[in-house]
């Protein structure tokens, strides 16, 4: 009998190791620990053995039963644990939950950059109307009627003497008329030109006007200020080139080129192999303009500048068609 018990024990332990899942576990339990199982059948046989052996065999048998139960429970836990692990295992390759992503329009981004640089230099932000009168847009800027300079800007008319502003320069007049120097402002805004729409030109665009009037403001300082701006905007290694030009409201006047920040000035497609990119116009405020706003041009001097936001954004991001800005294709907006 004892041998038989030992045999069952050995077999039990051996078989227990081979169990893999809950189904096998259950079959195994019924086989050994069930009410008609092997261990129970051993208990049944206990009746048949001599009385004096009963306590010893009984004890061994009880030990077997306890051990079997214990080992079985261990195994059961092990298998269940394994199963549990499978159930909760993470798949971290599942994509995260997305929401729609917002984007600032590239023109806004460019404008904000420009604004921040000048504001950090002490410029304040001013604005004016888009529906302007001839006086602010032309006359007070030293562009009298019948002047050929009017041809430089094709104009949309609303009615006689009322137009859509062709540049942000009228804001200069409005600001100077409202206060005495020192004046140090930038005026961003939308301007209109009656030009055929193409990849290169649109009927409206955005400008940033700058104006600084005080005692002792010089052309040299204009150069220094714009160079500081260009370095912050395009990179510290860029150079500026000031070319003499003509604007009726500034004298001396200049057009300003920045060394091509794409190729570093060596020449590439963007700068048309010239190494320079035209970015803005500027000059010293013409004394005639001071006369219009009632400033003493002997006491005060000043500079003004104006740049196109679209132009700068196009250069900065390599955009080759201005119309893309107003189409608002989401595949375009996503890129900025």
């Amino acid at each position: 009998m004892i041998n038989q018990i030992e045999e069952v024990k050995a077999k039990f332990l051996e078989e227990l190791q081979t169990l893999k899942d809950e189904k096998e576990l259950e079959e195994f339990r019924v086989k050994y620990l069930g009410r008609r199982g092997i261990i129970q059948s051993l208990f049944d046989k206990l009746k048949e053995i001599p009385r004096e052996e009963k306590p010893t065999v009984g004890k061994i048998l009880n030990e077997l039963k306890e051990l079997a139960q214990e080992k079985f429970n261990e195994k059961k836990k092990e298998i269940e644990a394994k199963k549990e692990k499978v159930k909760i295992s993470l798949d971290l390759t599942i994509p995260g939950r997305f929401k729609y992503t917002g984007r600032k329009h590239p023109l806004t981004q460019t404008l904000e950059e420009i604004k921040k640089i000048f504001v950090s230099m002490g410029f304040e932000v001013a604005s004016g109307p888009e529906i302007e009168d001839d006086y602010h847009n032309f006359e007070a800027l030293n562009i009298p009627p019948e002047h050929p300079a009017r041809d430089m800007q094709d104009t949309f008319f609303i009615k006689e003497n009322i137009i859509l502003r062709t540049h942000t320069s009228p804001v200069q007049i409005r600001v100077m008329k409202s206060k005495q120097p020192p004046v140090r402002i930038i005026a961003p805004g939308r301007v209109y030109r009656n030009e055929a729409i193409s990849a290169r030109s649109y009927c409206l665009f955005h400008q940033v006007e700058g104006l600084y009037v005080d005692e002792g403001v010089s052309f040299a300082e204009l150069k220094g200020t714009l160079l500081a701006f260009a370095k912050q905007m395009f990179g510290s290694s860029v150079k500026l080139r000031f070319r003499p030009s003509f604007f009726p409201f500034t004298e001396p006047s200049a057009e300003v080129d920045v060394s091509c920040f794409i190729c570093g000035g060596k020449g590439c497609k963007v700068c048309k192999y010239g190494g320079w990119l035209e970015i803005l116009g500027c000059g010293m405020v013409d004394p005639n303009v001071f006369k219009f706003v009632g400033y003493d041009s002997e006491r005060y001097t000043g500079y003004a500048f104006g740049m196109g936001v679209e132009r700068i954004a196009m250069l900065k991001y390599g955009i080759d068609d201005i119309r893309l800005f107003y189409e608002n294709d989401f595949r375009f907006l996503e890129q900025f």
Binding site: R97, I158, F219, A220, G224, S245, P252, E327
Partner: protein, 810 residues
């Protein structure tokens, strides 16, 4: 303006390479937009002589030629019927780019290679006019002058060994609209001497006064009129050198007389006109304005209707030219012309500009007159033309010039203070340098001392009138690049309180909420503008009908954005725009206007259409609805600390919206939230549910409390939450229940949140259940259960009574 390098060399000893000239001109303010090397096109083309012509052994229409091209004699297969021994012909060598392919329908260029044509080798090509892009003749090869030099590069033979600059001349520099003008600038920049050609005239003994007379009636618009008469000219094509000069600057040679006037125009910048003397009635010139409505036929054959302010050149009987703009057909130079009257005048720039503008006719002459010609170049120019007519057309120049010049235009005298110069520029420019620059520009220095100088400005510089104009001249020629970059050592700070950049704040919030920003055109179709009201602003001269009005709402252009994106299959859109709208107002009490009675206001537009969330594995697909929009708007208001707003509920539907709710901010109507109507969507070819909010931006900004943010004590006690659900009639709104709860709960009700709406059998037809979560908080103490319960009971009782509601669960 086109400027020929070769032509410039007549007036200065220019040795610089074209690239250097380009750089110099650009840095003088005469921007060179392009440089064209005319000879480039005819690289590998030479003058050849046909030595031998034999029939091609295998083709009837082809010949095998031996052509001497100087260095070599080549065998060339030719298909032209007119090839003959002894001809001088244009020959393209292997590697040449033939400008136009005769056998290509579009005449595309091609590279010439060695070829075997029907078994015979060909080492070049004899070209036709068409192939050289010099004319349209395809029929045979081009035959050159018998005296052409064999082996000469073809570009040289054609006078195309030239470089042409396209210079952009600003409107203040009429003096630079000529070769002498440009040469003067280069002379200053390179330190060269300007050599103006000397005019020597052999006049006949006949006196001009006996042959013609001039009378100026309108002396305001024509301050000076000079004329010469040249008899017995032979009108014929100009000599090659003259034709080449004109061609190089883009002019078409016509005949020697007209070409000479054009040559002088491009040489000195003064427009001339040549009349057929015999067609001038009474041999008289009268300068006066036209009759209103008078019709005149110009040289180009077009009938022009004149106005009372159109200045005309007339003879004793009729008008013969529109002064300073274009001559008339009735007095034109033709092959039969024998005698010529040359006009050299100075017209008032404003008069010419006005005429040119209303006629829509801009000519080389009007372009110069309206910018300001030189009243004192008149005599030089007319003499120069007469000299050339004598030399080239064999004319007899009559003695004397008729010169009617009632009020002399004197050169201006201007003072320049060195101190002023230096303070504007920002550095001290040596006086010697200043003098050199001004003298180089032909300004005569009348007086000079340590403080400044006085100059006399030649009349070809109408742009120099004031001290500042001289300062610019000095700075420009001295070189902007030599002026240092200065930054004032004093940092300037704004003294105003820094304010939140409200635009940026709104943008940041909306972008954070997943909106893209759009920027759209503010001009639109009148019909579309009208949908949003009749008070829109019209554009008098729009680019097209689609842009004939200014927008009164951001909605139309937003729908255009939707349509564009839908067109590319992008159907889920969430975007915003901050932009101006415009209108006319006749209301006296309206807010201050900048200009006339036009009002510009800034608006914020928010648009949503498509799926509320991007498609995902565990998100139930759902389209945007009005509550998404309402939520975004309220979230934005809260983000910018805008509290005093309220929605106005009305179940209005209009042409624009299927339904909408208004927003009031600070008690003023600020805009609306809507579902766009099908009718409006149809106008944009759209089929979708589109939700739009359009709100006055200024009202948001003015009512935002962002600048007044203030700490208030954080509650010391925890909040208690209780849920309440009421069964109510369908007719009762959620807002009504919320309002009743608020009324009855009092101050301890901190917040209230709707968390469920249920309709179904359990509660019966025509009913709904609405469930709220109430946050209850007392600033003074932790509320006991009893206190909360009694409050809730009070609320329940109030709501049940007021709205005929029934408590559902507690």
């Amino acid at each position: 303006m086109k400027v020929s390098h070769k032509w410039l060399k007549n007036y200065i000893d220019l040795e610089a390479e074209p690239e250097e000239v380009k750089e110099k001109l650009t840095m003088l303010g005469l921007e060179v937009e392009s440089v064209e090397y005319l000879g480039e096109k005819y690289k590998n083309f030479y003058v050849g002589e046909v030595l031998e012509v034999m029939k091609h052994p295998n083709a009837d229409k082809l010949t095998v030629c031996k052509v001497n091209v100087g260095k070599d004699t080549l065998q060339i297969i030719c298909g032209a019927p007119n090839v003959a021994v002894g001809q001088k012909v244009p020959v393209a060598l292997v590697g040449a780019v033939i400008p136009r392919n005769q056998h290509d329908p579009e005449g595309k260029p091609f590279v010439l290679t060695r070829a075997k044509i029907r078994g015979v080798e060909s080492y070049g090509m004899i070209c036709s006019e068409y192939e050289l892009a010099l004319g349209d003749d395809k029929e045979g090869i081009m035959v050159l002058e018998p005296d052409a030099i064999v082996g000469q590069p073809l570009a040289e033979y054609f006078g195309l060994d030239d470089v042409v600059y396209d210079v952009s001349i600003t409107p203040n520099r009429p003096d630079c609209l000529s070769h002498i003008g440009i040469a003067r600038e280069l002379a200053v920049a390179f330190g060269l001497k300007l050599k103006k050609p000397e005019v020597k005239l052999a006049e006949s003994s006949k006196k001009v006064f006996e042959f013609a007379s001039v009378e100026i009636i309108d002396t305001v618009n024509c301050p000076r009129y000079a004329a010469r008469v040249v008899l017995n000219v032979k009108v014929e094509p100009s000599p090659k050198w003259l034709q080449n000069y004109l061609k190089s600057v883009g002019l078409r040679p016509i005949n020697n007389i007209v070409d000479i006037t054009n040559f002088v125009l491009y040489e000195v910048g003064h427009p001339l006109h040549a009349f057929d003397y015999d067609k001038l009635a009474g041999h008289k010139i009268v300068v006066k304005c036209a009759e209103e409505g008078e019709v005149f036929i110009t040289l180009d054959g077009k009938a022009r209707t004149l106005r009372r302010d159109t200045l005309m050149i007339c003879d004793a009987e009729k008008p013969v030219a529109i002064a300073g703009v274009m001559g008339g057909l009735n007095s034109e130079i033709t092959e039969r012309t024998r005698n010529v009257l040359i006009e050299s005048a100075y017209f008032n720039p404003i008069s010419i500009r006005r005429t040119s503008k209303y006629l829509g006719l801009s000519t080389d002459a009007s372009y110069r007159f309206e910018r300001g010609a030189d009243p004192n170049a008149v005599i030089w120019a007319v003499n120069r033309a007469a000299q050339l007519m004598a030399e080239i057309a064999g004319g007899e120049v009559l003695e004397g010039v008729i010169d009617v010049y009632p009020i002399k235009i004197e050169p201006k005298i201007i003072n320049l203070r060195f101190s002023r110069l230096n303070s504007i520029i920002g550095i001290e420019i040596p006086k010697g340098e200043v003098i050199k620059i001004l003298e180089g520009l032909e300004l005569e220095i009348l007086k000079l001392d340590e403080n400044g100088l006085t100059v006399k400005v030649p009349t070809f510089r109408p742009d120099l009138e004031r001290e500042i104009d001289l300062i610019e001249e000095v700075a420009r020629v001295y070189g902007y690049d030599k002026i240092p970059d200065k930054m004032s050592s004093i940092v300037h700070f704004s003294t105003d309180k820094i304010k939140t950049d409200f635009h940026e704040l709104i943008r940041e919030r909306l972008i954070g909420a997943g909106f893209k920003e759009v920027v759209t055109n503010s001009m639109l179709d009148e019909d579309r503008a009208r949908i949003f009201g009749d008070n829109f602003v019209k554009v008098l001269n729009p680019l097209s009908r689609e842009m004939s009005a200014l927008r009164t709402s951001l909605i139309p252009s937003a729908l255009d954005v939707v349509r564009h994106n839908f067109g590319y299959g992008i159907k889920n859109l969430k975007f915003f725009e901050i932009g101006k709208v415009f209108r006319v107002s006749f209301d006296e009490d309206e807010k201050p206007k900048f200009v006339d009675n036009y009002i510009e206001e800034e608006r914020l537009l928010i648009l949503m259409t498509g799926l509320a969330e991007p498609i995902s594995y565990d998100v139930k697909e759902r389209n945007f609805d009005i509550y998404d929009l309402k939520g975004e708007v309220e979230k934005l208001f809260r983000a910018v600390f805008l509290e005093n707003y309220q929605f106005i509920y009305y179940s209005n539907n209009s042409e624009i919206s299927e339904f909408e709710l208004g927003v009031e901010i600070g008690g003023k109507y600020a805009g609306r939230l809507m579902k766009v109507s099908e009718a409006l969507l149809k106008k944009f070819d759209l089929e979708a549910d589109v939700y739009i909010a359009e709100i006055d931006f200024d009202l948001i900004r003015e009512n935002s409390k962002i600048e007044e943010r203030h700490y208030s004590e954080i509650p010391k006690f925890p909040s208690v939450y209780r849920d309440l659900a009421f069964v109510i009639d369908e007719s009762v709104s959620v807002g009504d229940v919320e309002k009743a709860i608020r009324e009855s709960a009092g101050d301890v009700l901190k917040s209230i949140r709707l968390f469920d709406i249920y309709r179904g059998e359990k509660i019966g037809e025509g009913k709904k259940s609405v469930a709220f979560s109430l946050e209850i908080l007392s600033p003074e103490k932790t509320l006991t259960d009893e206190e909360v319960n009694s409050l809730i009971q009070k609320v329940v009782k109030y709501v049940e009574q007021k709205l005929d509601a029934k408590l559902r669960s507690y």
